[in-house]
């Protein structure tokens, strides 16, 4: 039985979308959901600032959206499946968008995946350093 969300914070390079984070990210994620229709996607791309201002997001969340800083959006309560509506609107694939959260270029990331993906060794625990 898991009793706390704190243990997730020990996983390196990982933000677990918990029920607590979902409160913080509610409007950010709802904004993302609005991009499921083509007319909204067009309207967003036409004037992004005006579109994000229609939502009750914090200024930090809005800035992260406009900067396409997906890592920051995760930290501010976004979930990647919601955020995918932003990069879909930009015409980007999951690989293209996801690689921006790593220290690799898209090409390097794709090559890593072709080579079998990122190895878990050394990436299990921040505390234990393993």
């Amino acid at each position: 039985m898991e009793s706390s969300f704190d243990e997730f914070k020990d996983i390196p390079g990982t933000t677990i979308f918990t029920i607590e984070k979902s409160r913080e990210g509610f409007w950010l994620n709802q904004f993302c959901m609005s991009l499921r229709t083509a007319p909204n996607r067009e309207r967003f791309l036409e004037d992004q600032r005006a579109y994000v201002d229609e939502w009750k997001m914090t200024e930090d969340q809005k800035k992260a959206v406009l900067d396409r800083d997906f890592q920051r959006m995760l930290e501010l309560g976004g979930n990647v499946y919601f955020l995918s509506k932003i990069f879909a609107t930009d015409g980007l694939s999951y690989v293209q968008a996801v690689s921006t959260m790593t220290d690799m270029s898209v090409k390097e990331y794709q090559q890593m995946m072709l080579d079998g993906g990122r190895n878990v060794e050394g990436l299990r625990s921040l505390k234990k350093g393993e």
Partner: protein, 281 residues
């Protein structure tokens, strides 16, 4: 009486759907993965069920954060295809099995599973990519579908024990339905993958392969694997694999492994796939 005739597990990577829809399955990148499903498509032609109960998760395609059901069952006549941001996939609508679905929903609730009942539902790649992999590109899907949506997006997700148990309850529900129907249960998602943070791209082949072994032979122990282990070893999105336990629970104590396939990568993900049939107890 209705009966469980088989179980399918498969990853449900969105890029796989895109590769099918854009006729790219024979390209060098994709061919080895799609070749792995050739056996399955042939097997499915000879073993098409009347109804497939497809256990999947919505990816913020239908459910926003207003409502996040832990277990939800679709009892509608049909299910439209979601626009996930790229426009809806060009595939036929999914036909429901409202009579059986209603029976199962009621049976599960009486069995203490507090189901959310969906009279309207649009389905996303989590449900449709497995259908494309198993059926190809027909003008009309050859089987009716009962979508069973599980929250694996927001933690806490249902426990492994709960997932195996609801699978067993689905079997009881199916076997108490009066009409003679062949029913498969599909568990979708996984295998190891992480699509966020600096640890994105994580793949753990030994862990995935052990998971498949244990799912087939030792589900009673596998059910106790904590979510934290899925997240650490199989990536933050690897926790989708709890949905495979639902399929396994529905098949009974012993199973025959008809087919197994494993491939890395499809986009960010390790693809795993099993075809199981129940063994007489």
């Amino acid at each position: 009486m209705a009966h469980i005739s088989g179980g399918i597990s498969t990853s449900h990577v969105p890029a796989v759907g895109a590769a099918i829809d854009m006729q790219r399955t024979q390209e060098a990148y994709w061919k080895p993965m799609f070749d792995g499903y050739e056996f399955s498509k042939k097997w499915m032609k000879g073993n098409t069920p009347d109804v497939a109960i497809i256990v999947y998760n919505d990816h913020a395609s239908y459910f926003g954060m207003e409502i996040m059901p832990t277990f939800a069952i679709g009892i509608a006549d049909s299910f439209a295809i979601c626009d996930e941001g790229y426009g809806p996939r060009p595939i036929p609508e999914v036909q429901g099995a409202p009579e059986l679905a209603t029976h199962i929903a009621a049976s599960l609730i009486r069995d203490d599973f507090d189901m959310t009942v969906l009279n309207v539902l649009d389905v996303d790649h989590g449900l449709t990519v497995p259908m494309s992999l198993m059926f190809g590109e027909p003008d009309k899907w050859p089987t009716k579908v009962i979508p069973l949506a599980v929250n694996v997006v927001m933690n806490p997700q249902p426990s492994g024990e709960r997932c195996l148990s609801i699978g067993k309850a689905i079997r009881r529900a199916v076997e108490s339905f009066g009409e003679d129907l062949s029913v498969q249960v599909w568990g979708t998602g996984g295998m190891s993958h992480q699509i966020q943070g600096s640890r994105a791209g994580l793949i753990n082949q030994p862990w995935d392969k052990k998971f498949m072994d244990d799912l087939v032979n030792d589900p009673e122990n596998l059910q106790y694997k904590p979510h934290l282990e899925y997240m650490i070893e199989a990536g933050s999105e690897g926790v989708e694999l709890i949905m495979w336990l639902i399929m396994r629970g529905a098949l009974g104590e012993k199973v025959q492994e008809v087919y197994r396939f494993y491939h890395v990568p499809a986009s960010n993900t390790a693809v795993g796939h099993l075809i199981l049939t129940p063994k007489a107890e």
